[in-house]
């Protein structure tokens, strides 16, 4: 290693990358000081993952180049990146699920044509790493049987085993509880003390402020600002991220809920692999209130939405919806639930809410395609569908207001409007909403939030699922927290704060309470 002519571990020069019509990265320059934790923030789709994947050699940049330790390196494949001492923990884990931890770690670094020696050596090395960074793990466990937090640990070990000096983490906390996240940041700190340079991608301002040395901001594919973390604050970063001043609070009256319209009792759901995904979930929805479901993603929220909306049949339990009783013996599918006036804005509009190959007017009747309004005796009535779609597009300001455009060709916010418009305009009694603003730009977020509040005022019962705590706290009247398929707590909005919710999401709230009680008892 040359003596530090510059203190930069990695430098990017004018990196650009285009996917078809999307300019994901545009003339990006970035300098990361060696031995620091450097944060990169940006909204969904800002191009963060793309940029990191370019550094890691997963994608090749169209233009620009990269310097590592002030030497220009030619990174074409991930192997090149690994050779340059770069490691990456991907947003979506890159693990072979039915392999053991050990096999996953040695994959690509086997150390010889035969497996045995390499595996034995890796076993020893992993033990060392585990001790050094407190990254304990059973190396013979099958990856798919490990909880997410441990799977992430495997990813980190993979990088370290390859001798990474520069570690990229792409939204590592998306799947973690705040407490697990804290543990991760402690590990990152330890790594930093060993001289490892860390690139941390997130769109959570809190994490950036708590753990980074420097921060860079991306917006729509461009690098718009660099700041020293100590010299900036939440408001400034938020503004840089979205390009204008944001109002983080929605104006909302205190709710005046009336009668209960839906009441679920002891819902259980066991998936195809025999894993219990929902455990005795009971909740009530009342007209005129918004109930928020908080939780780290993957703790049963999706399953709850699917069971309530009839997409997947419940294993046991019952739902009283208006006059109708639904249970495992008398199930109702999604179409029947719609007939009972339940609407559902799904979490994933690409996979569920829309059919990307359809024209807008076709997508605008998805789920209601059997309704008499759209059908003649045999054939569907295209004219009615198109007219109605045009009308809604005008009402909801969908742009471009062209009912014949393929849904894939609308932007995320407009797609979401098409979905929400479809569901809301059926005048449902209950509205289930999953991740209403995921991947939607900030302007559209405000709009969508306003619409949700309006519905609530109009007396609908709304169940809101979101992984964005801010969103939950801004909209809900009541917050239910889910962990590992069960409801672990419920708070009224006026009692809710981030810390409490965070503890509940990690299922650590009750323990902490009892600990407190213990301490108080001792001190008394």
């Amino acid at each position: 290693m040359t003596n530090n002519a510059t203190p930069y571990a990695i430098e990017l020069r004018d990196i650009s990358k285009r996917f078809g019509a999307v300019q994901a990265n545009k003339d990006i320059c970035l300098q990361v000081e060696a031995g620091t934790i450097h944060g990169i923030i940006g909204e969904n789709g800002a191009g963060k993952s793309t940029l990191m994947s370019i550094i890691y050699g997963f994608y090749e940049a169209d233009t620009g180049y990269i310097e590592v330790d002030s030497k220009r390196v030619d990174i074409r494949t991930s192997q090149d990146a690994i050779d340059s001492g770069i490691g990456m923990v991907h947003q979506h884990f890159m693990l072979v699920e039915n392999f053991t931890v050990l096999e996953n770690v040695v994959l690509g670094a086997e150390g010889g044509a035969l497996l045995k020696q390499g595996m034995d050596a890796a076993r020893v090395e992993l033990q060392r790493l585990a001790q050094e960074y407190s990254l304990d793990i059973d190396v013979d466990a099958i990856v798919e049987e490990l909880p997410v937090g441990l799977q992430q640990r495997v990813e980190i070990l993979k990088a370290l085993y390859r001798g990474a000096r520069i570690l990229i983490l792409d939204e590592p906390t998306g799947v973690l509880t705040p407490q697990e996240a804290d543990h991760l940041f402690r590990i990152l700190k330890a790594l930093k003390e060993q001289g490892v340079t860390v690139l941390l991608i997130t769109h959570k301002l809190r994490e950036i402020l708590a753990s980074t040395d420097n921060v860079s901001v991306m917006r729509q594919g461009e690098m718009v600002a660099h700041r020293e973390t100590a010299k900036t604050d939440k408001e400034e970063l938020a503004e840089l991220m979205v390009g204008k001043k944001v109002r983080l609070q929605v104006s909302k009256e205190v709710a005046a809920p009336t009668e209960t319209v839906l009441s679920a009792k002891n819902l259980c759901f066991v998936d195809g692999q025999g894993v219990e995904r929902l455990k005795n979930v009971s909740l009530d929805l009342r007209a005129g209130e918004i109930v928020g479901i908080a939780g780290v993603s993957g703790n049963g929220q999706s399953e709850l939405l699917n069971v309530l909306s009839g997409i997947t049949p419940m294993t046991s339990g019952e739902i009283q919806f208006g006059d109708t009783l639904i249970n495992a013996k008398a199930p109702k599918n999604a179409a029947q639930m719609r007939d009972l006036k339940m609407a559902h804005v799904p979490e994933d509009r690409h996979k569920m809410g829309l059919v990307t190959g359809f024209e807008a007017y076709e997508a605008a009747v998805l789920g209601y395609h059997n309704s008499d309004a759209y059908n003649g005796k045999v054939l569907m009535n295209r004219k009615v569908m198109v007219d109605e779609c045009s009308r809604r597009m005008a009402g909801w300001d969908v742009r471009p207001p062209n009912p014949h455009l393929k849904t894939a060709n609308f932007s995320g916010g407009n797609q979401q409007k098409i979905v929400i418009a479809r569901e809301v305009e059926q005048n449902p009694d209950v509205l289930l909403i999953g991740q209403p603003t995921r991947g939607v730009d900030i302007g559209a977020i405000e709009n969508i939030h306003e619409q949700i509040v309006k519905l609530c005022v109009a007396g609908k019962a709304i169940l809101l699922v979101s992984v964005e705590l801010d969103e939950i706290m801004a909209l809900s009247d009541r917050i239910i927290v889910m962990f590992d398929g069960a409801i672990v707590g419920e708070l009224d909005i006026k009692d809710a704060d981030e810390r409490t919710l965070g503890l509940m999401m990690a299922n650590a709230y009750n323990e902490e309470l009892s600990e407190q009680a213990l301490q108080e008892g001792e001190s008394a």
């Binding site: 789920g367 045999v378 060709n409």
Partner: protein
């Protein structure tokens, strides 16, 4: 971000044209390699397929089979299913036709037999598709593999039935007895001759009309009914389908029933229209060719008719070619067929991406 669009004619005409030309080019090289003149060969081929009335009749007769199997493949494909079992379904469909004809030809008039035979073809073909469909829908077994297996099972079953039960006593060839004329589908030349139009004598029969009717019905079904809506939804996104309350298992099963029924209609053309007896191997690869036809025809009935005529022309012209140039076997047509599947199916992205990229870049610039 609305994406710049590629002109429609690029996808509908230009790309299929390039693919088919490539297939022809490679076939031309093969013909050259065996010492014949590709241009001369093409001449015979085109003359044989379109040069005279009878040739056209044969072309359309073959096309009838391709329309049925092409539609069969594409209906399933629209719902995201790869029905590779058209061959077996056509075979069993023919059994349905044959059984109806054998049972009724001595006692019933044509107008009773014909609709029953058509139903027989559809029901038997559909029934053969039902089992793989059921297994896919309810037990998650991969339909591609099961339909392949069912092709083999169909072929063994037919041998067993024809040889042991349906073969006429004293007959050498494993055929059933020839049906009475009351169970023959009229030839189109017989139909036109009284009208003073001589279209030459060929096996072209009323099944061709049925095939065209099927095209219209399939078109209406897919694009203008709620069932079509459901199957297209399922074909694009299974999760969206279950979100929309569509019973995916049910849709899978009935789409395969329609697909199998359409394939089964090959039996109408072959058994009732031409052979007038139940025999072995009358499907002669039409089921597999349906894959090529639906790929070429871009899964649209109009495209399928055009592609079917193209393949009919290849079959008929290929026979003519082999007749004129004995050095060339009719198998050259099988080579072309395979190359069409290769270029317009397996290698579709090779040119499509580039060409579309070209037009997108032009649109962006």
């Amino acid at each position: 971000m609305s994406q710049p669009k590629v002109p429609v004619w690029v996808n509908v005409a230009l790309i299929p044209f390039i693919n088919i030309m490539l297939a022809f080019l490679v076939s031309g090289l093969v013909i050259l390699a065996i010492g014949e003149d590709p241009i001369e060969a093409a001449g015979y081929l085109i003359y044989g397929a379109f040069g005279y009335d009878e040739g056209i009749g044969y072309t359309l007769y073959y096309a009838t089979n391709f329309i049925f199997t092409g539609l069969a493949v594409s209906v399933a494909f629209k719902a995201g299913l790869f029905n590779i079992g058209g061959e077996g379904q056509a075979y069993i469909g023919g059994l349905g036709v044959g059984l109806v004809c054998l049972a009724l030809d001595k006692t019933m008039p044509f107008y009773v037999i014909a609709p029953l035979a058509i139903i027989g073809a559809g029901v038997f073909g559909a029934a053969w598709a039902y089992i793989p469909a059921y297994l896919q829908a309810r037990r998650g077994s991969h339909i591609v593999i099961t339909t392949i297996m069912f092709n083999f099972i169909a072929s063994s079953l037919m041998v067993y039935l024809i040889v042991n039960w349906l073969k006429e006593d004293g007959r050498m060839a494993p055929n059933s007895r020839t049906f009475e004329e009351s169970a023959w589908l009229p030839y189109l030349h017989d139909f036109f001759l009284p009208l003073g139009i001589d279209i030459g004598s060929s096996p072209l029969n009323f099944a061709f009309v049925i095939a065209l009717v099927c095209c219209v019905l399939v078109w209406g079904l897919i694009w203008h009914t709620r069932w079509g809506y459901q199957l297209r939804t399922l074909g694009t996104s299974a999760t969206a389908a279950s979100y929309a309350g569509i019973d995916t298992a049910k849709v899978t099963i009935w789409v395969m029933l329609i697909s199998g029924g359409l394939a089964g209609f090959v039996g109408i053309n072959e058994i009732m229209g031409v052979n007038h007896s139940l025999l072995l191997n009358f499907t002669a690869g039409y089921g597999f060719a349906g894959i090529a036809v639906s790929l070429m025809g871009r899964n649209h009935p109009i495209g399928i008719v055009l592609a079917a005529i193209l393949f009919g022309a290849l079959y008929q012209g290929g026979a003519e070619l082999a007749f004129e140039l004995p050095n060339i076997t009719p198998e050259i047509v099988v080579v072309i067929q395979g190359l069409v599947i290769l270029f317009s199916g397996a290698l579709e992205h090779m040119f499509k991406d580039r060409i579309e990229g070209f037009f997108i870049r032009r649109a962006v610039a």
